[in-house]
Amino acid sequence: MSKKKFVVGAFDDEAVLFPAVKKVRMSGYKIHDVYTPFAVHGLDHALGLRETSLHTAGFIYAITGTCTALGGISYVFTYDWPVNIGGKPHFALPAWIPIIFELTVLFSAVGMVLTFCYLCQLAPFVKKHHFHPRATDDLFVMVIECTAKTNVDDLQAFLTRNGAVEVSVQEAETEWWVGTYDKEQRLIKDTDFGVA
């Protein structure tokens, strides 16, 4: 468990978020992540993230599925228990292609979902710190990691100047953990929804 200090700025418009991301990066701050309610096209480029390797992983899972299916069926139908089906050859490749295809899709789909969950640190019963509950609703939440040299007040003012509607400083756990959230951290406050 390692706690770090973060400055969190919430934006309510993509058009404001993009120039802000650019300026924050140009000023030398380290962006931990940006949480958005939906996939924002081009944000990964703006953040300077590298191309994901998820599709390479998907390809490997898919090939595994293909080999499993082809190996399994050909073992059963040509070696273990050859059956004469409609006079077709035992090694009846065309008839197997649908099954090989299905297993390829199944392996790659399940494998990629699990890999994705692992990369995003999502799992049943596992908790992760939420920087802002409205990141799942209508706000784009930029999280900047503080170092020893970071002037927090300056950074907060900088974010506000660049269009953040809400700025806060948080000490947070960066990794996932099994257990519960702190009692103090209520994920959803009534005030978030304008209810007093």
Partner: protein, 416 residues
């Protein structure tokens, strides 16, 4: 800032090339006509071969041009905006539908009415022979396979494609001169586009998606049928149509036009070429595997001379060009964003699906040999020349950018 080149000018060299190709093609067709239908060596079979060659070429080139209009209508209905920077290209290609339509119509009408029962291209034309042979299956189909229905349905199909296509292009022209006044006019513009596009798509489904390939092509093997056939034809023509669009887009880019079209748009065109090659294979395989598995002689007759006979080479070449090459070469993201590779693949796919149409029709008409000869390439050259000539002319006749279209900005900032 450099001014945007909005107006395409046809290079003199291109016009010469187009006319030369058309001329060579026309000459080949005339020579073919003379050698195949007149003279001492001509008989009913050589006549059939000549007209079937005309038939598959005209249908293929008409359908790939019509696929451009399908692309426009499908993206319109999906509220797609990414294609807007190069939308004039498919529009220009679709102007060929009436021209090729008239050629194909004339050829088909000659086969059905001019050659009559003597031809072996459409066995259903010869009712007497069918009754004599006791061919109950085809006799029962005669309510659908008869000259009158063929005539009416062909006129309706080609006519409505042309009319609705012309209406889509007319609507697109509205976005050239002035900005749409307010949100209301913008909404009404999008709505009118949507209505015409929906009508086209419905008619497209009733024709290319089902009946027209049955009538024009599948009825050559009148006893045989496959429920995959129309979709197979559609997939073949659509993937070639996308390749044709990609080729024109790359050509215009190369000449310094279409400044707003970039790798992102090329990537999406490449995705279409890739995805519909796989889709074509899916249909090819579904048709093949069920017939192979069922192993019923009335169904396997279609594949008998294609897989085991003289068409073996062409048949497997078809799979290699249209499936193995696209899946291996176009799979990588960087390949779909590479102008040279996409050009190469587009040419290869166009050739591959032309060969596919060749084996679909000639595999049934000329069962004894499978040589792709001078007549086939010459006829193709005629149509390719026509495409170059008329598409460039149509591109030059209006601005290359529909710059006041409501979705235009979406296309400029498009990225994948």
């Amino acid at each position: 800032m450099v001014a945007i080149k909005e107006q395409f000018e046809v290079p003199a060299k291109m016009k010469t090339w187009a006319l030369a190709l058309t001329g060579i093609g026309l000459l080949t067709i005339i020579i073919g006509f003379v050698t195949h239908t007149m003279g001492a060596s001509a008989n009913q079979h050589t006549k059939d071969i000549f007209w079937a060659t005309m038939l598959y070429n005209s249908i293929f080139f008409m359908l790939i041009c019509n696929a451009s209009m399908f692309f426009i209508c499908a993206t319109t209905l999906a509220m797609g905006g990414w294609q807007m920077t190069f939308r004039r290209v498919p529009e220009a290609i679709s102007t060929l539908v009436p021209i090729f339509g008239i050629i194909a119509f004339a050829i088909m009408m000659f086969i059905v009415f001019g050659m009559g029962p003597s031809t072996n291209i459409y066995p259903w034309l010869n009712k007497e022979a069918l009754e004599k042979a006791g061919n109950e299956e085809v006799l029962k189909k005669l309510g659908f396979l008869n000259p009158v229905f063929y005539l009416v349905w062909t006129i309706l199909a080609i006519g409505l494609w042309s009319l609705l296509g012309a209406r889509m292009r007319m609507l697109s022209r509205e976005a050239d001169d002035a900005a749409l006044q307010n949100q209301e006019t913008g909404k009404s513009f999008v709505w009118r586009n949507t209505v015409t596009a929906s009508l086209f798509i419905v008619w497209f489904a009733l024709t290319v998606g089902s009946t027209v390939p049955w009538l024009w092509m599948m009825s050559i093997d009148a006893n045989w049928y496959s429920t995959m056939y129309s979709w197979y034809t559609f997939a073949s023509s659509f993937v070639s149509g996308m390749s044709l669009i990609a080729l024109w887009v790359i050509y215009l880019k190369n000449k310094g036009y279409l400044e707003y079209t970039n790798q992102e748009h090329l990537h999406d065109l490449g995705k279409f070429m890739f995805a519909f090659s796989i889709f074509w294979t899916y249909l090819w395989f579904s048709q093949y595997m069920l017939i192979w598995y069922g192993n019923i002689s009335e169904e396997t007759v279609y594949f008998k001379n294609r897989v085991q006979g003289v068409y073996k080479g062409i048949f497997f070449l078809n799979i290699i060009i249209n499936f193995i090459c696209p899946i291996l070469i176009l799979m990588k993201r960087s390949a779909k964003r590479n102008y040279t590779l996409v050009t190469f693949m587009a040419v290869l796919i166009l050739f591959g699906h032309w060969v596919d149409f060749y084996q679909m029709i000639m595999g049934s008409v000329r069962k004894e040999s499978s040589t792709l000869g001078w007549l086939d390439f010459g006829t193709a050259a005629f149509f390719v020349g026509m495409i170059i000539y008329f598409v460039s002319k149509s591109l030059a006749s209006k601005p290359l950018l529909a710059k006041y279209h409501p979705f235009f900005k979406e296309s400029i900032i498009h990225h994948t």
